[in-house]
Structures are given as C-alpha cells and as structure tokens.
Amino acid sequence: MVSIEINGQKIEAEAGSMLIRAADAAGIYIPRFCYHDKLSIAANCRMCLVEVENAPKPLPACATPITDGMKVETRSELARAAQKSTMEFLLINHPLDCPICDQGGECELQDLAVGYGKDVSRFSEGKRVVFDKNLGSLISTDMTRCIQCTRCVRFGQEIAGIMELGMVNRGEHSEIMTFMGQAVCSEMSGNVIDLCPVGALTSKPFRFKARSWEMQDHDGIAVHDTVGSNVTVQTLRGEVLRVLPRENEDINQEWLSDRDRFSYTAYKSEQRLTTPMLKINGEWKEADWQTALDNVSSKLKKIVDEYGADSIGALASPTATLEEFSLLAKLMRGLGSQNMDYRLRQQDFRADGAMSAPLLGDSIVSLECAKTVLLIGSNIRKEQPVLATRLRKAARKGASISAINSTKFDFAFPLQVNISVSPSSLVATLARLAVIVAAKKKVPTSGTVEDIAESCPANKELEGLADSLIEAGNDGQIIVGSMAQMDGNYSLLVALATIIGNISEVKFGRLEEGNAVAAWQASFLPFADRGTVGKNATEMLNPALKACLLFNIEPSLDCIAGNSALDALRETGMLIHIGCYRSEEIEELAHVMLPLASVFESDGTHVNCEGNMQSWKAAVHPQGEARPGWKILRVLANYLDLDGFNYTSSETVRDEASPLISTTKRTASMDVYAPVLVEQNRLACISHLPLYRIDPFTRRSQPLQQTLDNPPAAAGMHPDTLASMGIDDGITVELANGGGKIDISVYASTSIPLNCILLPTALQETAALGNANWLEVKSRA
C-alpha cells in the first residue's frame, strides 16, 4: 500500500494497481468508455485522461500504475481540456441519432457528452458510415454508433472464452464484426449488450419496445440453472419488457446467460393457458377456478378412496419454485402418496436413498480459486453457463481442468485431460481413476470397483489426473453434471465420483438443472419421507397411475423416455395439468388444465448450488386467470380438506421448508452397483439436452430458438462408425429402440466415441423414441 493524492484527497492504494481503480474506490469518478473492471485494460478510448504531477502530458487513468506519492488531478483545467478533446474526437463519427437509439437514457456516451461535449460540432466533413452486421437473433447492431472501445471483443476473449467479435481493418476503417459475418453463438453473448457503452450493440428482442426511464425495475432470480443469477426484471404497463443482470459478486457478478436474459420473451406466448379448462365429453370447456378445483379435488378423492393413495402421483418441472415444490410435496403426502419427482430426465435411481442434494460443495466464488477441477458427465458451458465463466477464470489462473465425458465438448477453456469414451466405458474409466487414486493414497477400494475398472487399463492421462486431484486436495473440485444424470449408470457415476472425491479429499459437487436444490429442500422426492418410499419419475410412468398431476411439464419433451411417458399418460384416468402453457399434446392427454403464473407473475424462491435461498416478488400480474403455483396448491389442498394449508403469503410457505442440512459437508461414500452395459452389437445412445430446450419456457422463446445453439435435430456419430455401417454423412436413417422409432439425419463428428450416437433430447423430432440407452440404425433411407 502506498499513499497518493487525488484531487487533494489522500488515498491509500496498492502500488502498481491502476489509478482508475483507486479513484473508483474513493468515489472519485473519472470518465471512461473502454475501461471495465472485469476486463483487461485496452486504454484505447482516452476518455480517462487525468493530470499527474510531473508527467509531461495527461495520462490515461485506466492504464497508469500507481506509484508512491503520486499527485493526481482529475478535474484540473488540463485534465478537463484533455477529456473534452477526447469527447470531441469520439463524437466526430458518432451519429446524432439518440432520439431513435435504444441506448438513449442509459448510454455512457450520451451521459458523458452532457458533461464533456460541446453544443455544436466543429466537424463539418462527412461522418463515416459503418454497415450493420447480422449477429443473430439476440443482438441488434447499429455499427455507425460504435466507438471502438473493444469491450465486446475482450468480453468474448476473456469472459465467454470464445472470440467471436473482432475489430477488423484499422484507423478510420476499423469496425467490429464476426468472421465472415457469422452469427454469434456464445451462450453468454447478451452481456456485450450491457457492456457496449453506446447503442452499437442492443437487445434485438427489446428493440424499440420502451425507453429505459419509463420502465419499472423489479428484483428477480433466474431459474433455469442452478446458479440463481440475480436479475432485474423491467416492466412497463404491466408487461415484462426486458431482463438484465443484477450485480451480485458472489453469484453471477454482472453477467447473465442468454437463457436467463432472453427467455422472458416466451411469457406472453399465444400458447399461454389463461383460464382453467375442463374436458367434458372430450371437449375442452372454460371453467371458473371453483368449478375446476372442485372437479379436481372430488375426482382425486374418489381415486384415492377407490385405488389407494399410491395410485396417484406428481411430476414437476425442475424449474418450479421452492414454494411450489413444498406445497406439492405436502399435498401429495397429505393425500397419503409418496409418489413425486422432478428428475424427469434421470433413468437410474438405484442410489436414491444414498444420494445427497445436488450442491456444489462450496461457494461459487471458490470455483475461481480451484487448483484442479474434474468435470464428469458435464457440458458445463451449456448446462451452467455462469459457472463455466468462473472455471474459465480458474483456468486463466493456472487451474488444471479435466473432463471425463461421453462426448468431447468445446469448453472454451484449456483442458489438462479430456477423456471422451462411450457411456459403457465411462463407469470403467471412473472406476479405474478411483483405483489409481486409492493406490496412490494407499487406501483399499472395494472389489466391485476393481471389477468395474477391469475393462479400462491404467494410462498416463488417468495417472496424471489422479496426481493433480491428490495434490489439490481441498482446493480441488469434482463436478458431476446434467449429462451424467441422463446416463443409464448415473448412480454408479455419482458413487464412483464420490469415492474419488473422498479418497483424494477433493470437494464433491453434483449439479442439476433449474431449481433442483429447492426440490430437495422441499422434500419433493419419493424417498424424502422416512419409512415409505414412493415411486420415482420412471416408476410413475410404468405402469400408469390412476391420477397424475403434471406441474408445468410437457411429458414428451421433459421426460427422458418421451414416447413411453405418453403411452402411460394416455392410460392415466385423471391427468391434471398445472402449467403456463397449453399444447396439442396436453390437450390430448389431460382432463383438467389449470393456468399457472410464470416466474415473473408469481413470488418464488430459488435455492442455488451453494444452498443459497433467494426469493423474489411477482413483477407483473398473471396473464388472464392464471394464478401463482403456491396459491393454486394451497386452495386445492383446502378443497381436499387437508390440514395445515392456511398460508397467507409465499414467505410463510418458504419459511416452513426445512433448511438444507449442510451445504459443504462431505458426501458419504455410496454403494457401488454393477453397471448396466449396452449389448455389444448395439449402438450406445448418448442423450444431450440442448441448452434452449430445457423447459416449456425456453422452448417457446423465439429469439433463443433461432440461435445456433438450437441446431436442427440430427444424430451424431463418429465417421468411422458411419463408415463401418456404410452410412453417408448427412443422409436420413431410421433409429429405433424398444420404445419407438424416428427418422433423423446423421452427421459425422470425431468428438463422439466409436459405436455411439449423440442424440438431442427435448425435441419434437426425437421424442418418439422410448427409453434410450441403446439404439439401432434400422433402415437406410
């Protein structure tokens, strides 16, 4: 620490850190455009020029390191003159189109021009024109407004990890563009909209919708991943018009994934369910809430009386709120049923009793300081985009990050070891790693682990990985991701990962989608009640229940075995759909539809992977007759004459949910089971969930659906696998398994292991397949 003086004020600052930081910390504002505290220093806009004693000319505060005794003037005549001149230069080529610019009112250039600009421009020559670029469905461009600060370029390089935008040409001809006009495909791309200090990059879905000062801000929490990013929901006249990140250093910093930023565009979809509906003689009829709830409760009671409580069950979306999970769990248990689940894409439930809540095992911030990270069954960039940016930071600091997956993903950070093996070999690889780690730590492993490891010989990569895990110890982190959850050997993968974590003393994390942690906290699980164990998501669909409550899900897309789920639900005597949307499928299957308020229209609570509970208040009124989930369930419970449902607010529901036991406690080692292996002559199916197909909300967000992250349905295979079967890249084949068959085009990719098919789930085109660990390529069309 050294002491310096800014505008006569004595300040303690770190020697070598930049002047602008010290000034910011002391609350002295220095104008800036290119500087951003989360990005590297470019020092190219020159707006931050200040006067430094003994320096021959003004110096840029963002790139001037602090030295002891420095005396700085940020508002002296010289500094002002320099800042004003810079502003004059910046405005030379900047259009005067503020009245039609979406950035107006929240534009750094506009704001600073008020203080530093002239009333009239002295520049009478022609301004340069830069043609707009098409960056895809999320970002709108007006490139003439660009001031070449390169914040957007640095964001791609440094935070998102893929450089998509670049500054091409030079001098007066410099412009921001992508290579050959490609659309941007980063899952964090929307952040450049916030970073751009001018209106060059603005939100496409928000274009010309409102002025920033007209809107009201509401604090919200994003529910699509386990991060719980803090957001500001902006509304005008009762309509959500924009979602922006709200700064929270511990969680999302000031970033937001595109999924959380743009999915609001679906909340007013034409498919919103806006009134309760009853199916009477096969026809859908609108009903009032009383009639609908009366109908539901009397039928449910009758079914429970007739067939017992075990004949009813509830399937809920992993993005439901804590309050909704709590009341749904309480309602089912009140009726005497333990049948409830949100893990609709999981097929292996063998470890249910032993599994602990899907937590990271430490804080999100701690990820940045991890020395070694092992990702198992995780495409973290697309599953938890914000966490991936933290890992990227760790990688930049020298962390060694490795992945064991059944596909090679592009992580946008360098990997020490990147193992991609078929699903069947995945368990063997983990077992081998466990054996190696155990041997190095001189502890015994069970015979079963060694048996499983048999088919995977030790190799240098695994040895090195074991070493770096052991070396990191408590500074290491294992993450089992959502890809693993869809694997047929999930219990085993988790069990083996726990063993590796426990022996090497590395922190263990298991991450799921959405608000899964809240489901655990609310005990919305078939095994959460001591004593009886209910049916899990798969068992509830096989055989069919007599009555089933679907909470904001679309079965063919949200259940891993879409086709089988539909078959079962067709036979369900009473199907109650509580959801935001109606769809042909739901209309065919359900008997009652109850309109649910979306996250913007309801109070709610998200519990993130750190166990951090964050609540929000409704930002707008529900569409039509839709009602918040917790209210619907509370009233339904009253109709069912259940006790203990006299809640007056969402908070009273929330506060009843028991706290999670411990968020950082080491997970106990679990039993190891024999793996389910795919028969030799069959192709193993690797399911992956495209980022924007995760829930009914994102699936209806047009701007997200139009991005490159939502490619057309196609099945990927290794070129050698294709060649061995005599199939050409790009042709359409028939894929079949026990549950159904589909026609789909194939593509070759060396990222996929031999004899495997990488298949996207939650797509209309692939939903017709049944439970899928294996696939047959039936005919060659």
């Binding site: 450089m163 670049g166 091409v168 030079r170 992508t178 290579f179 050959m180």
Partner: protein, 163 residues
Amino acid sequence: MTAQTLSPVAISQIEKELEKYPADRRQSAVMAALRIVQEEFRWISNDVMQEVADLLGIPAIHVYEVATFYSMYEHKDVGLYKICVCTNISCQLRGAKEILDYLRKKTGIGPGETTADGRISIKEVECLGACGGAPMMQVNKEYHENLTPDSIDNILDGLDRHD
C-alpha cells in the same frame, strides 16, 4: 477464384515458425503464417484464414483482424508483380504523383488495379522507410529508389527476365 488450401510445404513452413514461440503462444506465428500463405497464393482468402486459425488453434476472427490490420496482406488476387508506390511525405515531395502518372501511362492502370493480363498490380502505400531514395517503389520484394521515367522503363522491361 479457386478455393485456396494450405499446401504441405506451407504447413511445414508455418510449423517451423511455430517452433520459435512457446507452445502456449501459437498465435504469435500468425503474421508469419499469413506471409507464407501470401507468398504461396499472392493473396489470402477467408478459407485459408480459417485453415491458418485451425492450424494455430486460434479463432478465425483473430486471424482476420491481423490480416485486415496490416496493409501488406492482400485480400483479392493481385498481379504477378505487385508494384507498391510510396506516396508518403518524402516521396510526395519528390514527385510520387508523377511516378504514379507515368506508371499509368505505361501500364494503363492506377492504384488498386491489375492489368488485364494479370501481370501487374499497382498499390499506393505509406512510407517504406526509404525516404533517402525518394521517390521510391517496391516491386514484389525489391526496392527501387530515386525513380525517374527512364528507370521505371528499365524496371518494367526487366520484370520477366527475373523469372
């Protein structure tokens, strides 16, 4: 325009350049790689920029940034002989404009153009650091200084004799 693709020779040359830099600094070789490409094709297409990017393991836009920043890299095909005429201050004072005019008279083309037979291209460039010999021009890799109409005649006549 036929699609460009890196020849094995070019690839091995680029790999040689890569040896000069630490393994995690492969992007350092981007300028050398572009020079090698240009020597092979006389210009650099987007396709081959993508190939260079893949070879160096850097984003294509980064290669594109470098290739568009430096004016020596060509983005369109140029003639067999690229004549770069300096029009910066020293050369300007010493008659660069007359040099350009004379070249136009001789070849029928001006800056940014290529003769119909694809032999010669003319390009206006900034100071090439040979102000002492102004006016000057560079033909492919060779500098020619203290230009006069006579010496230009000689240079143009001598062109094909080099090959």
